[in-house]
């Protein structure tokens, strides 16, 4: 296209410039990140709940105090205890590590709160302990992965799906029972998209898994996070099954 003057072309250009207020306009996009634990069923305010335990870890035979506060709730139930007042405390003496789950229901919906309580049970020494550590390490690996399962994510997302939330809770239970194990969480992405962006997305995925473990009571000092982005792939087929395989936070024993 040349800019030699042709009057009608300039008129068209002038018209175009006056119409074109910009090559694009902002479209509102979905806001990812609704809390899957809260369901709002009406315009009334949704209930909130917090549940704490003091202390968080006891020796078997000792007791601890559960302390909870809720708002906008009409009925509150704690698993293993039963219906309780909307705010209150309760002394309990569990015989093994437990996650106490509180459910608060109100006119605006329902919500949950959890706290993991660790009960230290002394283990008798077994003959296996005197063997080389290698075989025990291997058993650790196998049972670790049976109990601490990788969590998977939707495309371009780092929000934990409900199944991933459950997996995190089971993982936390196992880690509470094996306090010496430290965890390395790897963040991964499928091979689509930009290498740099995917490293940060992988980081956010691993951190989401880390936050879930911490909320379930695992101390932050036991968890380390490394993102690989799309630089390490678990499979290479170009289909959704393989892409889903790659969109994950992977748990490993951190040695």
């Amino acid at each position: 296209m040349t800019l030699q003057s042709k009057p009608w072309k300039w008129a068209l250009l002038a018209a175009a410039l006056s119409f074109a207020t910009g090559c694009h306009h902002s479209k509102p996009l979905n806001n990812a990140g609704a809390n899957p634990n809260e369901t709002a069923t009406s315009n009334l305010p949704a209930p909130t709940a917090t549940l704490t335990a003091d202390p968080l870890a006891i020796d078997i035979g000792q007791s601890l105090v559960l302390n909870w506060r809720t708002t906008n709730a009409t009925s509150v139930v704690i698993d293993g205890i039963g219906p309780v007042p909307v705010n209150g405390t309760q002394t309990v003496s569990p015989s093994n590590s437990t996650i106490f789950k509180l459910t608060a229901k109100g006119d605006g919906g329902s919500t949950e709160a959890n706290v993991l309580v660790t009960v230290r049970v002394p283990q008798p020494p077994s003959a296996a302990d005197e063997n080389a550590n290698g075989s025990e390490d291997k058993t650790d690996e196998v049972t670790f992965h049976q109990n601490v399962k990788d969590v998977f994510f939707d495309y371009d997302s780092f929000d934990l799906r409900p199944d991933a939330q459950q997996a995190a809770l089971s993982a936390a239970r196992y880690l509470a029972a094996h306090p010496a194990i430290k965890v390395l969480i790897g963040g991964y992405c499928d091979d689509r998209g930009s290498a740099e962006y995917n490293i940060t997305l992988g980081e956010n995925r691993a951190n989401a898994a880390r936050t879930a473990l911490i909320s379930a009571g695992v101390p932050a000092s036991r968890i380390r996070v490394v993102s690989y982005g799309k630089e390490r792939q678990f499979c290479t087929e170009e289909n959704e099954t393989c892409w889903q395989e790659n969109r994950r936070a992977q748990f490993n024993i951190d040695r």
Binding site: H24, N31, G33, Y197, T200, S227
Partner: protein, 454 residues
């Protein structure tokens, strides 16, 4: 005088033509989907003829060096994007070695019809390569010589290439209306070596490809400093990705502090005193700035979601463009270098890898639009005018494209492309900033190119 005035206006015309044609890519005008923009009209380009240089010695090595010199010089002037170069089949048979041997009428007459002629002589003696290069204005029969320059270097094929690059850059400087030549510039890139990725360097035309790092891991995102002395990049270690620094003067790694979290995608401010990068040391990947030694680090974004791939406005250093996933799929934003004045530039799709043009006016980036005019299907290189947010699409149907990087003359863009979409087949390509003259610089296994500053 008139010629240089013409050249100045032609580079203005280029910017205006680019902006004007951006209007036609607005979704309001559906008649035109895609189009090709001329960087300069062929009537505005200078018609230059490049003579084969005259060999000045009988040394048998001379002919090899001469061939390398001649082809490199021709390619450099052809690639500059501002010349209408006379094809070798149309030039006179004679190879004038100096001013006395130059017959201007032969070169200004058809079929050459050249306005400018580059010619000279070359010899290799006693391990020394000596080149005398002349540039003549054929219309100025009284005082035709624009300049003459002598080059003397250790005789080697690489030096024959480098001398040609320097002579070409000198011609471009004299005739290019104030623009810089890129014939001596370098491109830094990621080379796939099996499971690992290392940082490599090559000349702007794809010659001289060689490794810089040997870290035995995944290294990526090389960015050269404005004084061409240091290369910042990210590398995967036990603690995840960290920013590393390589000295091109010392030809080895130099220390750079590690930090918590994942640290990647460094970028240099044009002053060379500051870098920007993505860091998740506070939990969420955000854009940080620090001085060139990694000290006095400051966080300048605070958005939920990934923030990565910052790039400074190379003209002012006062703004940063970067990629943010705060609304879902990644989009391009710009802000002031202190984090204020956040403006969103793209309105949807998947947009990454911004590169800011040397004149400060345009962003080149990778975009998978999935909507709008032009029937876009995949990830392509786009150029957007920052002031108006109008854009044009530069690549079509050549596969997946990413990581565009502007040349310092603002006339070229180098980028990564994989024709079949597979990462293993990624290679580096170059093109003019209007999308024409695309060609590959590397074979498979090249990625994330970064063009040096002048």
């Amino acid at each position: 005088m008139l010629r240089s005035a013409l050249l100045k206006s032609s580079s203005k015309q280029y910017a205006l033509a680019l902006a004007v044609l951006c209007v036609f890519s607005s979704p309001f005008l559906r008649a035109q989907d895609t189009f090709h923009l001329e960087a300069t009209n062929s009537t505005d380009r200078i018609r230059i003829a490049v003579a084969d240089f005259k060999p000045q010695s009988a040394d048998p090595a001379t002919s090899g060096y001469k061939h390398t010199f001649d082809t490199t010089l021709f390619a450099d002037l052809n690639a500059a994007g501002i010349f209408d170069i006379v094809s070798k089949g149309l030039i006179p048979q004679s190879a004038p070695g100096n001013q006395a041997e130059m017959n201007l009428a032969q070169w200004s007459a058809p079929p050459a019809s050249a306005a400018m002629v580059a010619f000279g002589n070359l010899s290799a003696n006693n391990g020394r390569l000596i080149v005398n290069g002349f540039l003549d204005d054929t219309k100025n029969t009284q005082f035709p010589q624009v300049f003459v320059k002598q080059y003397s270097e250790e005789a080697s094929d690489d030096q024959a290439r480098q001398i040609a690059h320097r002579f070409a850059d000198e011609i471009i400087a004299r005739l290019g209306g104030g623009g810089v030549g890129i014939a001596e510039t370098k491109i830094y890139y990621v080379k796939q070596t099996g499971q690992n990725k290392e940082i490599w360097e090559m000349d702007y035309d794809g010659a001289n490809q060689h490794a810089l790092t040997h870290l035995g891991t995944v290294s990526m995102s090389p960015r050269i400093s404005p004084d061409n002395s240091r290369l910042a990049f990210s590398s995967l270690g036990r603690e995840g990705f960290q920013i590393k620094m390589f000295s091109l003067l010392l030809n080895r790694m130099i220390t750079f502090p590690a930090a918590g979290g994942t640290n990647l995608s460094p970028a240099w401010a044009p002053s060379g005193n500051q870098i920007a990068f993505s860091s998740s040391r506070t939990g969420d990947p955000e854009i940080w700035t620090a001085d060139a030694n990694g000290s006095i680090a400051r966080r300048i974004t605070s958005f939920r979601g990934p923030d990565v791939s910052p790039v400074y406005n190379p003209k002012t250093g006062a703004q940063i463009a970067w990629v943010s996933g705060r609304t879902g799929q990644p989009q391009i934003y710009i802000m002031d270098s202190d984090g204020s004045g956040v403006t969103r530039m793209t309105d949807g799709g998947y947009a990454t890898s911004p590169s800011w043009s040397p004149n400060g006016q345009f962003l080149a980036f990778a975009w998978d639009r999935k909507y709008g005019p032009g029937a876009p299907g995949g990830q392509d290189i786009y150029v957007m005018e920052i002031a108006s947010k109008r854009w044009i699409q530069l690549t079509h149907d050549i596969g997946r494209c990413d990581f565009p990087s502007w040349s310092p003359d603002g006339r070229h863009i180098v980028f990564a492309n994989t024709p079949d979409g597979k990462d293993a087949h990624m290679r580096i390509m170059t093109m003019l900033a209007d999308g024409t003259q695309k060609r590959a610089l590397t074979g498979s296994g090249g990625d994330m190119p970064n063009w040096s500053w002048k």
